[in-house]
């Protein structure tokens, strides 16, 4: 882990952005393979991203070799995925992220802009001292990629449903 004083947020965000694209691509390929396994009658239990990605490894090694390898070689993938899921579901985190997500992730933006803004919003909000300490958020690129992927998959509207009026 990088020391706090040496931490370069912009560099970190850039790494998260690149990693998120890789994870997202891997996930998309894996999702196709998952559907293909199901259509062949193979029963796949569990519903986590990790499971889907592992399912994808079987069928798309050649296509997504590089990104799959980067997922494959991380032994603590499951642990990060669980932590990301916990943070994702936390109402306080939602309250923290949603106003900015709703304000900045607009439907008529190109996908690349949505990704970049989402990375900026999520990293800035969660690496701020208070939430970072309260939720023990580490400056871990893969953890942030997985968290952003979860929000992406859910969609801003569904993730930020509110009943505060």
């Amino acid at each position: 882990m990088t020391e706090k004083s040496d931490f370069d947020l912009k560099k970190f965000q850039s790494e998260v952005y690149k990693d998120f694209i890789g994870v997202q691509m891997t996930f998309s390929l894996a999702q196709l393979e998952f559907k293909s396994l199901e259509s062949k009658g193979v029963k796949v239990t569990g519903s986590t991203t990790g499971l889907l990605i592992r399912a994808g490894l079987a069928g798309f090694r050649a296509l997504a070799k590089r990104s799959i390898k980067s997922v494959e070689t991380k032994p603590d993938f499951d642990e990060k995925e669980i932590r990301a899921a916990r943070i994702f579901d936390d109402p306080k985190i939602k309250n923290l992220l949603c106003p900015r997500l709703r304000a900045e992730i607009l439907p008529d933006l190109p996908i690349e802009a949505m990704r970049a803004r989402m990375v900026r919003i999520v990293t800035c909000a969660l690496l701020d001292t208070e939430p970072a300490e309260e939720f023990s958020i580490e400056k871990d690129v893969r953890f942030f990629s997985l968290l952003i992927l979860k929000i992406w998959q859910k969609g801003i509207v569904a993730y930020c449903l509110r009943n505060d009026l």
Binding site: Q13, S14, A103, L106, L109, E112, A113, A116, L165
Partner: protein, 505 residues
């Protein structure tokens, strides 16, 4: 320009990809400062043959990238991009948005994307593309973004000095007038019976804005010479400045009586009558003035204004044409004729006239504002922002211009910038219902429903008989499941003539 239906979102995506490819090419060719040093990523665990192959591949791709970046087409595009971004018109379109949206704390990819969004949303309209010869070519836009990023937005858009030199000029003029008044006063001491000297000092007081002193001197002049028409005329002007229009007309009439062939006196009386909304009498005086001096552009200009006041656009335009023919350097005539075209919804002609007025007087914030409004009505958002931002630079408390820019930002979906500008309008004019209503729309689109209801309610409170506030609030109520309230607002909006495009069900 756009033969098929232009899809901005698709184009933006293409430019972002093209920019990423450009970065990669420059990096591979070793033309970026952050390019990886040769061999830095060689996998030391790989076998000898694999390492050789990797090295060979890398060398091949570097050669390819180098050939590409050294190609003629590449250089041409680079030159074109540089030429475009240095065009002052493009500069004025881009800078208000670049300075507002691009901050140093954005990471590299995000900054490039945001710059591309600004470039593409501001420079792809038909008018901009045609007038500034910009092709909607993804590679060209990527190159432009690269050039701006290379310079840095702070260098590309340096802060413009807002201090005006008007005050210095005013100081000079004031000291000149003071000297003039002193000289007249000396002359009056030497000969207190000369009407012309009193008249001269009165004019200097008038120019200085000291109307009481001017009035006193003009009175003295007419006392000394009761046939002094010019003194009556100028006394009439002072009465008019002091809001005594009856006395002003009486003095102007006396000046006409003393000199019935003086076109200036008719012109003066006409202007006062126009101000009093006595349009027929005013038109008669303007016409007499023109009859006596057919080459007076000012008379045509003022009669045109008078015709515009009574809704006779045709006669008004004819007089503006004549005024411009006599004095082609009169910015006011172009501005006013542009306003007639604007009211007639002849927006192209309005823009042509406003542009001519701006060419003559580039510091006139009113004309810049109105051209911005006209561009906005044509959905030429980049050009609109450039103009209203310039108007705001010239007059920082120009609430209408700030409000207009907020509308443009809102329609360009830069809701954060729109809200900032609406905030600024509300701080300048706390009773400005249009700003509350506009801010409510921006908040609605960013799903800040609590604030949207609050602001639309304030707009309704300030202007209870304007439909827009009810329309927005109805939409927010509907979106948040408060259907009864939504329906009540929809009903009220319809009663007031508002249009409900998607009723709440």
């Amino acid at each position: 320009m756009h033969n098929t239906k232009f899809d901005l979102k698709d184009f933006q995506s293409s430019v972002i990809k093209s920019h990423a490819t450009l970065m990669s090419q420059l990096s591979t060719a070793g033309l970026r400062s952050d390019a990886e040093p040769s061999g830095s990523r060689t996998n030391t665990n790989a076998g000898f043959i694999k390492r050789c192959i990797l090295k060979q591949l890398k060398s091949l791709s570097r050669d390819f990238a180098q050939r590409l970046v050294e190609s003629e087409a590449f250089a041409e595009r680079e030159a074109k991009a540089r030429e475009l971004i240095s065009d002052p018109r493009i500069h004025s379109i881009l800078c208000p948005l670049l300075t507002a949206k691009i901050s140093d704390d954005l990471f590299e990819e995000a900054m490039a994307i945001e710059v591309i969004l600004i470039l593409t949303s501001s420079l792809t309209s038909k008018r901009v593309a045609k007038e500034l010869s910009i092709e909607t070519d993804a590679n060209l836009f990527a190159r432009m973004a690269h050039e701006i990023l290379k310079q840095g937005t702070e260098k590309y858009c340096p802060a413009t000095p807002t201090e005006s030199s008007d005050e210095v000029i005013d100081d000079f003029e004031t000291s000149d007038l003071a000297r003039e008044i002193a000289e007249y006063s000396d002359a009056i001491v030497r000969d207190p019976t000369d009407a012309e000297t009193f008249h001269g000092r009165g004019l200097a007081h008038y120019d200085k804005g000291d109307y009481d002193a001017a009035l006193s001197d003009f009175f003295r002049a007419t006392e000394l010479d009761s046939t002094y028409g010019a003194a009556y005329y100028d006394r009439g002007r002072v009465h008019n400045m002091l809001d005594n229009s009856d006395l002003a007309i009486s003095d102007m009439s006396k000046a006409i009586e003393l000199n019935p062939e003086d076109p200036i006196a008719y012109l003066g009386r006409a202007m006062i009558r126009q101000y009093r909304e006595e349009y027929e009498l005013a038109l008669a005086d303007y016409s007499k003035s023109i009859e006596l001096n057919p080459d007076d552009a000012e008379a045509y200009y003022n009669r045109a204004l008078c015709y515009a006041d009574i809704g006779n656009s045709g006669a008004s335009l004819a007089d503006y044409d004549r005024a411009i023919l006599i004095d082609p350097k009169d910015a006011n005539a172009y501005y006013s004729r542009g306003s007639v075209y604007f009211r007639q919804n002849d927006l192209d002609r309005a823009i042509a006239d406003y542009s001519k007025a701006i060419e003559i007087d580039p510091q006139d914030e009113e004309t810049l504002y109105w051209r911005g409004v006209t561009y906005y009505n044509q959905q030429e958002y980049g050009l609109a922002i450039a103009d209203v931002s310039r108007a705001i630079d010239l007059k920082s408390d120009f609430a209408d211009a700030v409000c207009q820019r907020a509308h443009v930002f809102r329609d360009m979906k830069y809701y954060d910038l729109a809200v900032d500008d609406y905030d600024r309008v509300i701080s300048l004019e706390p009773e400005n219902s249009e700003a509350y209503y506009g801010r409510a729309i921006s908040q609605y689109y960013t799903h800040d429903y609590v604030s949207a209801i609050e602001d639309s309610s304030t707009a309704i409170k300030l202007e209870p008989n304007v439909a827009e506030g009810y329309v927005v609030r109805a939409r927010v109520y509907c979106e948040t499941g408060q259907k009864e309230l939504a329906k009540a607002d929809e009903l009220k909006a319809t009663e007031l003539g508002g249009e409900i495009t998607t009723p709440c069900n």
